[in-house]
């Protein structure tokens, strides 16, 4: 059996909410030892300001958002404002290979935990800072959450219908783009260290990684002076291309047809071969022109079936169709089950819950999700005594002095 990819890699997170902690989660799923740092005075914001809570009862160890972002980690509490708090943080930094932080730029430095300070206690440390708009520039210090960034990056404008207000994307969309790129940046920095022995500082701006998902729209504007507009589920040159009502309450399938062959197959499956020769629908331009009539013909068929039936009937014949899986569907999805995507873990206060597996499966180094997210300060003893090597009497003293707190 191969080792897990990040076995032996130690990560300290001075991070909260999604953008920072999820980078650590993905690495913990592949074997990294990740310590999530909070304090009782300032617990991770996901623990207290964001539902869901188990059984809708708020509680510091009952948060769904927190547990989704922190499985397989160790949880410690350091009061960075207490005398000795920063020194303790430095001992954890000295232990770590990577530090992940996502405070507003300048916050760590003000505490005496900037990159230069970290290098003094750990010369080859990798510091990954993920923030809203970057560590430099006129807007560097501006705070923001993922939903605000969704609008700044252009995603909000591109979602919905032109005769309606744009739709906000669900959750802190751009944070999660920052997570993917954050893992990439962390692994790149590890690879650099493997080759040279050197650590480095990584300045990841969530705004800038969000821009990566917008490049075609940016080119369209800069070259063709065209501002791409939102247009529901329509597609420039594919038709039908939409969401269609199915049997049941709020049940929808999707059908996307890119060429005439797929169109013919769709008509056949619908038992509507008459539509193939219908001049309104014969070619792509004709179907685009008569899209509303086209959609209503298709919906006549889909509305008599369940969304899952439409999906399977069409996919079995090679038409690109699907159904709008809600979260209930997602937990029952046989394909996700096959990939072991929802990994069950048992939490002392919440009971059994499910962490999300990675989007990729390695043939030789499988992921392993086997521990729930930590309770606040759950692993103080393990981390400070065992990982950092602190004598017990010192540990007891730091608790008494309110440093481990």
């Amino acid at each position: 059996m191969s080792k897990q990819i990040f076995e032996g890699i130690k990560i300290a997170e001075f991070a909260a909410i999604a953008a920072g902690p999820l980078i650590g989660k993905h690495m913990a799923d592949h074997g990294a030892t990740v310590v999530h740092v909070e304090s009782h005075e300032r617990p991770d914001g996901f623990r207290q300001n964001y539902p869901p809570y188990k059984d809708n009862k708020p509680g510091i160890n009952r948060s769904g958002a927190f547990t989704m972002c922190n499985n397989n980690k160790y949880g410690v509490t350091i009061n960075l404002k207490a005398k000795g708090g920063v020194d303790l943080a430095k001992r954890l930094i000295a232990w770590a290979d990577i530090v992940i932080e996502n405070f507003t730029p300048g916050t760590m430095k003000k505490l005496g935990l900037g990159y230069e300070d970290m290098k003094k206690v750990n010369p080859d440390i990798i510091l990954l800072s993920s923030c809203n708009q970057g560590q430099t520039g006129p807007h560097a210090f501006h705070p923001g959450f993922g939903s605000h960034l969704s609008s700044l990056c252009g995603f909000t404008y591109m979602t919905g219908y032109q005769d309606r207000l744009p739709c906000i994307l669900y959750g802190p969309y751009v944070d999660h783009i920052g997570v993917g790129y954050g893992v990439i940046a962390a692994v790149a920095a590890l690879e650099h260290r493997r080759r040279t022995g050197e650590g480095q500082f990584v300045d990841l701006a969530q705004y800038e990684v969000g821009v990566q998902f917008m490049i075609p729209a940016l080119l369209d504007y800069s070259i063709n002076k065209r501002v791409p507009e939102r247009d529901g589920n329509r597609h420039g040159y594919a038709a039908p291309h939409n969401t269609y009502r199915c049997q049941g309450e709020d049940r929808w399938c999707v059908i996307s047809v890119f060429n005439d062959d797929e169109w013919k197959t769709l008509c056949k499956v619908m038992g509507r071969e008459d539509l193939v020769s219908d001049p309104r629908f014969k070619t792509i331009p004709a179907r685009k022109q008569n899209e509303q009539a086209l959609d209503s013909e298709i919906e006549k068929w889909t509305s008599k079936l369940t969304a899952e039936e439409v999906f399977k009937k069409l996919q079995d014949k090679g038409v690109k169709a699907g159904f709008v899986e809600n979260m209930d569907d997602m937990f029952k999805d046989p394909q996700l089950k096959h990939r072991g995507f929802w990994a069950a873990v048992d939490h002392p206060e919440i009971g059994r819950y499910h962490a999300e597996g990675p989007p990729f499966l390695f043939s030789k180094t499988p992921f392993k999700i086997d521990r729930p997210a930590p309770m606040l300060g759950e692993h103080n003893e393990t981390v400070f005594q065992k990982f950092v090597g602190m004598p017990k009497d010192e540990y007891d003293r730091l608790i008494e002095e309110g440093v481990i707190a």
């Binding site: 999820l22 869901p52 809570y53 059984d55 769904g64 972002c69 006129p138 560097a140 501006h142 939903s147 960034l149 609008s151 990056c153 909000t156 404008y157 979602t159 919905g160 309606r164 739709c167 906000i168 669900y170 959750g171 993917g180 790149a188 590890l190 493997r194 040279t196 050197e198 990841l204 990684v209 821009v211 990566q212 998902f213 917008m214 940016l218 080119l219 369209d220 800069s222 063709n224 501002v227 939102r230 589920n233 969401t243 709020d250 399938c253 999707v254 996919q315 699907g322 159904f323 899986e325 809600n326 979260m327 997602m330 990939r339 989007p359 990729f360 499966l361 390695f362 043939s363 180094t365």
Partner: protein, 417 residues
């Protein structure tokens, strides 16, 4: 700090991906890898996706291609012919990483799947990207952006309440999938560096998009609640079920402002009231509100509606630019709803050096691209070369495995390259 290094300069990547995987190779290219995009003779069908340079529908003027295939060289090769296969196996000996998006089983039929390639190059890494993964009940099903946005759960939380769910009009699923594929590929590459061992990476498009729905699964997992789409409103922030408006019309477009709790939210709420008051537009119920006692988790819909009513009237009197300037100056949470135009004009991105003018000598023009995805202190992350023309680097790449110009010519005539 010394000169930044091209981290992956000795990493050779063969990229057989379609639009679902372009971003994967591009990211490795950004980090300096020698990525070779392999197209079928005549060019990849995905050269017809989306918009074109000056709206000229030509495969070498496609903007989606420009966007996600730069930092790659380009060759053509028909791997379904015996000759093409032999050439590929020669290339594989000098390759570290393969990216492919063929249907599961296709490469195996050709004798070019991971196991076969590993016989030629034992430490090869193959990253396979498919809509649903290499195995399982849906493995043979097809994907499109619409299908993957729907099947990942993302679409169920997008769109107006009284309309069907929507996808973002600019396709997003392929970006998510390509990004995650790059993570997997790079992790496998790092692992190979540490252990000498290559492996197969099986990326599923469906699972590649799930994080776009953020923490939505947790509502179901914890409380059997199914999160719903709510148009321009944010849901799930309050245990009373109150929803908060996230998009307001303003004088010349839209702005995103959301009533939050916590220190930053409370500061923002206070300062908006002050701003309104300075224009004589703050109603008494806002002026008299004790924001310090405001709790977003327990706030009622009635209270939210009352606040938002005043916000709605006020934002109609300001422009996007005024709003942006004010939130920056006053350290408030909120941003304008940007279009492509405003992103390119944004002074923060400009000051960070985000834009790079790139020579397209084949078009006789320069095109502006994002120059990097992240700033590293020691790794160069950049724009190194524009996207390749069809077969642009055939001669160069095939010479590296010892094919002569004469051989190339006959391969071209045989339509292998």
């Amino acid at each position: 700090m010394g000169e930044k290094t091209k981290l992956l300069k000795d990493c050779r990547v063969l990229d057989f991906s379609n639009e679902m995987g372009f971003l994967c190779g591009k990211i490795l290219g950004d980090l300096g890898a020698d990525v070779i995009k392999v197209e079928e003779p005549g060019g990849d069908p995905s050269r017809s996706l989306g918009s074109f340079y000056k709206d000229i529908p030509h495969p070498e003027k496609n903007l989606y291609w420009f966007a996600y295939n730069h930092n790659k060289r380009g060759i053509t090769l028909d791997i379904e012919t015996e000759t093409g296969k032999e050439i590929l196996l020669k290339l594989i000996k000098k390759t570290d990483l393969v990216i492919e998006t063929f249907e599961p089983g296709f490469l195996k039929k050709l004798g070019l799947d991971y196991d076969s390639l590993a016989k030629v190059k034992p430490d090869i890494i193959v990253t396979s990207i498919t809509p649903f993964g290499q195995s399982g009940p849906y493995k043979d099903y097809q994907g499109s952006d619409l299908v993957l946005t729907a099947m990942s759960g993302f679409m169920s939380v997008l769109g107006d309440t009284d309309k069907p769910p929507v996808r973002p009009t600019l396709p997003q699923s392929y970006m998510w999938i390509g990004m995650h594929a790059a993570e997997g590929a790079l992790m496998a590459y790092y692992h190979r560096g540490m252990t000498g061992e290559g492996q197969h990476v099986d990326v599923s498009g469906q699972t590649g998009v799930t994080w776009a729905a953020s923490i939505a699964p947790s509502f179901y997992d914890f409380n059997q609640e199914v999160p719903k789409r709510a148009g321009s409103f944010i849901t799930g922030r309050s245990i009373t079920g109150a929803i908060m408006r996230a998009v307001y019309p303003c004088k010349d477009g839209y702005v995103t402002y959301i009533i939050y709790g916590g220190p930053a939210g409370i500061r923002t709420n206070k300062r908006l009231t002050e701003w309104m008051d300075s224009k004589g537009m703050a109603p008494d119920y806002l002026k008299n509100k004790d924001w310090n006692k405001f709790n977003i988790a327990t706030v009622t819909q009635e209270e939210i509606d009352q606040i938002e009513d005043a916000n709605m009237k006020f934002f109609k009197t300001v422009t996007k630019e005024e709003f942006f300037k004010h939130v920056i100056d006053q350290d408030m949470l909120g941003y304008p709803v940007n279009t492509a135009k405003e992103i390119i004009e944004d002074e923060q991105l400009q000051s960070r050096g985000m834009w790079q003018e790139v020579e397209h000598e084949e078009l006789g023009t320069k095109i502006t691209y994002p120059a990097f995805f992240t700033l590293f202190s020691s790794i160069a992350c950049g724009f190194w070369r524009r996207a390749p023309l069809i077969g642009e680097h055939n001669e160069e790449v095939y010479a590296e495995i010892g094919l002569s110009k004469k051989e190339l010519l006959s391969l071209k005539k045989a339509n292998v390259i």
